[in-house]
Symmetry: C2
Subunit: 528 residues, 2 copies
């Protein structure tokens, strides 16, 4: 491989390359790739920070059985700089957990549990704090209290990105005039702008999908203050979702081997029964038989070849779908009433599909459509996307919801649609995916990945909604088409009259008669 | 907050929640979120694994000054199971680095260097191995040799996902009949399917953007074998990109503070000069003066308030753009010749924009358009996307390239375009972003994030290409329109004749005359 001599010094050999190899900390990785977490520009960063804090507050309140009262405040400090705070009436956080929860990436309680919740990665709020620190140098400030008579703890935290560890700048006890709750304050580079991806819209859509939540939202701009109050319309918490075990159909060979190595059961059959969802003694026996393995074999002694047999046997044995009480959908009635409160349309429909399963994860799709009324008639449909009751405002075109909406032939339901585009018309389309594990396309959790099973359910839900509104739409459409045809005829007939006059030498009266009769004939032929 | 008594036991308090908090390993995170890395279905997984191995091979060859000869082989072992291998003639890998490079996430040489390369995260190839392990239980197999007379090392590696550490299953020396190079073999769940997102297409597009590479591609399916040879058309390596230091405009406050704390310089002014790109003694002095700081102050003693002043001062001082020899574009001629080799069109144009900067990172946009010829005329345009010469085949709609193509008003250049859609017609559009740090929307590196500066350059490049082809297109279009109008007239005129016969009682001869004259009149009025 001859290399020109004078160039040789710019190239490296294997030894030189080896010297440059090193470990990258997860915080360094995400601070360089902060767009992955939703912090790629000041406007989106402001929204993401609010969203992460609100997600955590709502999850904590619901887990503790508390109807959430939230106070969200954005304060513009100077151009491009905001302080944001989210205060809740949740259960509070135990003192020694505060630093790790708010200033260490990949730390949390939800990652290893199979249960529907808004947060799942153990990244969000620490990433928001890290972004604030990167852009303003300011620490994230936490105040939390876990019960009446207990002190509130107030922390200022930095995240050491080289080591992914919290640095405690301040740690004091203080009085706080509430029984329990948590207040998160972050100073960050941010920009406020009204519109579809604004914090206003996020709070509004959160209220649509969470009718049991009250939110006081204050926006203090340099130019003035705005305030919005969202009062809960339902005084009951959603049914608390239950935690489940992994379903055998969703476990891959590698994970199966890991589970067998770390099980507490001494026998293979017992391990299958105790560590998986929906594996009865009978099913466990059938799996062992299909895999040609001894039910009493030690799970830790299962070798690759045997594990592979076991894996294939699982796919062949009929196993019940996972339990679905781990999911808590919004419900058709609450979707319709939520949409009615926020969208001025003529007709509202909703569908909640039965639960389904992708990769062993139970999930459930709901859809709603609002049509007509004061919605603008000549624009593309507006799509509201929700995952576990959280509005998704960015990365629309990367989302399975958006792609499914685009992929449906809406002309079947009487709507206009250009090839490769959303339907157009006075239309709001809402889709909600509830799951123990929503497959997001990135950590910023703004778009749902396109799993076949998920897309199929979305499609079915949307088609059901489509059928529900199509009668209404096709009536409206027939009326509109008729008007258009009449316009068309009225526009062109006189021209033909003029042409006839020239060609056949008709006089004015004859032309008039011809035009009138022609109009009548054509109208009759194209009768509505 | 009264909670119904009988429900109380399903809820948790702060203490119970604290018990469930724990650290999540980065491998656990990515194994659960493998769709983030491009492994969400067997078809895409096969492509991603090939892509990660090819990226590494090409980077290593170019860094060592070697014209790359690659052998890519896919072998179908059974339904949904493949073995893939990529062999290169690169510099090889030093023995003790092999385990970490191939079986530890976030380990690599490129993350901390500001230099254009295909890989950048230190995740890809280890993730491919981890996916193989998860789905088949098989280790990743590596053979590597760093020079003539040295032994080749052969490894079998597992990745311990709980600790993100390599586990060495086999480590032997062996004979290998080549001087230097690396062979990576992975057995994985995969599926092969022809089409736009296939490995075939990936290899084909790689050849378009890398005319200096030769690739032997073999596909051994259960149904038969296919082979494709891509021979290099250029015998020269691209100019080796240089490593640069961060540019002051792209450094955020938090990063600035970190750099000041860890600099080797004793004086502020010296630190600015030595650790940043384009900061001369004069510029460093201006920055210190604008920040009202002593140029001889110790950088480690700079407090938050002072760092903030420094940060603001940097934005005010005029600093040259970063050097752009760290980027190596393909070039207009090679884009056109690359497209010509792979696309059967009538006209080819290309544009290489001058380098620009986003967040302190130099980047350069190139675009090309192929139009007409044998391309299908009634479909949406095909968009070829490249980042640092790597074809991007998935997540098209999430990509800044796709969005920019969609957002341009192609009607200005004589093309058809439905609202919110791609232009349609016999059209291939290619865009290449070259940068020291491509801002991908996710670790699977398939879509470019929408930074304003990047989008602006893409838009300009595409508009330049649009202007270059518009004359050609509008001529073709006028001809097509004329034909359509004639068809239209030919269709409707006879109907009018029949209507006239009924209305005015004309005889056949008169009808024929009317129709003929009407046709002539209308054709004259709508003359082309």
């Amino acid at each position: 491989m001859p290399v020109p001599k004078k160039q040789k010094n710019v190239y490296a050999d294997a030894e030189q390359m080896a010297e440059k190899q090193r470990t990258i900390s997860v915080s360094e990785f995400f601070s360089k790739n902060r767009h992955l977490l939703g912090f790629d520009n000041p406007r989106r960063a402001l929204l993401t920070a609010v969203k992460e804090a609100v997600d955590n507050s709502l999850d904590a309140c619901e887990e503790a059985g508390i109807l959430p009262d939230l106070t969200v405040t954005l304060k513009e400090l100077s151009e491009d700089r905001f302080s944001m705070s989210v205060e809740d009436n949740g259960p509070g956080i135990v003192k020694n957990q505060i630093p790790n929860i708010f200033a260490k990436l990949l730390y949390g309680s939800k990652f290893h549990s199979m249960k529907m919740s808004r947060g799942q990665q153990g990244i969000g709020i620490s990433a928001a704090g890290m972004y604030g620190q990167l852009t303003t140098g300011q620490p994230i400030k936490i105040t939390s209290k876990i019960g009446k008579g207990k002190p509130a703890h107030h922390y200022h935290l930095h995240l050491n990105t080289t080591q992914n560890k919290p640095e405690i700048l301040r740690d004091i006890e203080m009085d706080w005039p509430k029984d329990h709750g948590t207040l998160v304050e972050i100073e960050l580079e941010g920009r406020y702008q009204k519109g579809r991806s604004s914090v206003d819209e996020y709070v509004r859509q959160t209220a649509i999908a969470n009718p049991h939540v009250s939110i006081t939202y204050t926006l203090q701009l340099l130019t003035g203050e705005e305030k919005a109050e969202y009062i809960r319309s339902v005084k009951q918490l959603p049914l608390p979702p239950k935690e489940i075990k992994p379903h055998p159909y969703g476990v891959e060979l590698g994970m199966l081997m890991k589970m067998l190595k770390t099980t507490n059961s001494r026998a293979l059959k017992g391990a299958l029964q105790s560590d998986f969802s929906r594996v009865s003694s009978k099913v466990a026996g059938e799996i062992c038989a299909a895999a040609n393995l001894n039910p009493n074999a030690s799970p830790k002694a299962i070798a690759l070849k045997e594990a592979d047999n076991l894996f294939r046997a699982i796919q062949k044995v009929k196993i019940m779908n996972p339990p679905t009480d781990c999911i808590s959908p919004i419900g058709e009635d609450l979707i319709v009433s939520g949409l009615k409160q926020q969208v001025e349309a003529e007709i509202f429909v909703a569908t909640t599909r039965p639960p389904s399963v992708y990769r062993g994860n139970p999930f459930q799709i709901e859809a709603g459509i609002a049509y007509g009324g004061k919605l603008p008639g000549d624009e593309l449909a507006q799509v509201f996307r929700f995952a576990n009751r959280v509005p998704l405002l960015y990365q629309q075109s990367a989302c399975a919801i958006f792609k499914t909406v685009q992929g449906i032939d809406w002309k079947n339901y009487g709507l206009d649609q250009a090839r490769g585009a959303l339907p157009s018309g006075p239309l709001v389309i809402m889709v909600h995916m509830a799951s123990v594990w929503v497959p997001f396309t990135s950590e910023s959790k703004e778009a749902i990945a396109s799993y076949d099973e998920v897309i199929k359910e979305m499609r079915l839900a949307l088609q059901e909604c489509g059928r529900k509104i199509s009668a209404h739409i096709s009536h409206k459409r027939r009326v509109a088409d008729a008007l258009q045809k009449i316009n068309y005829i009225q526009t062109y007939i006189p021209q033909i009259g003029i042409a006839l006059k020239d060609i056949l030498g008709l006089n004015e009266k004859e032309v008039k008669r011809a035009v009138t009769t022609l109009t009548e004939v054509l109208e009759k032929k194209r009768a509505i």
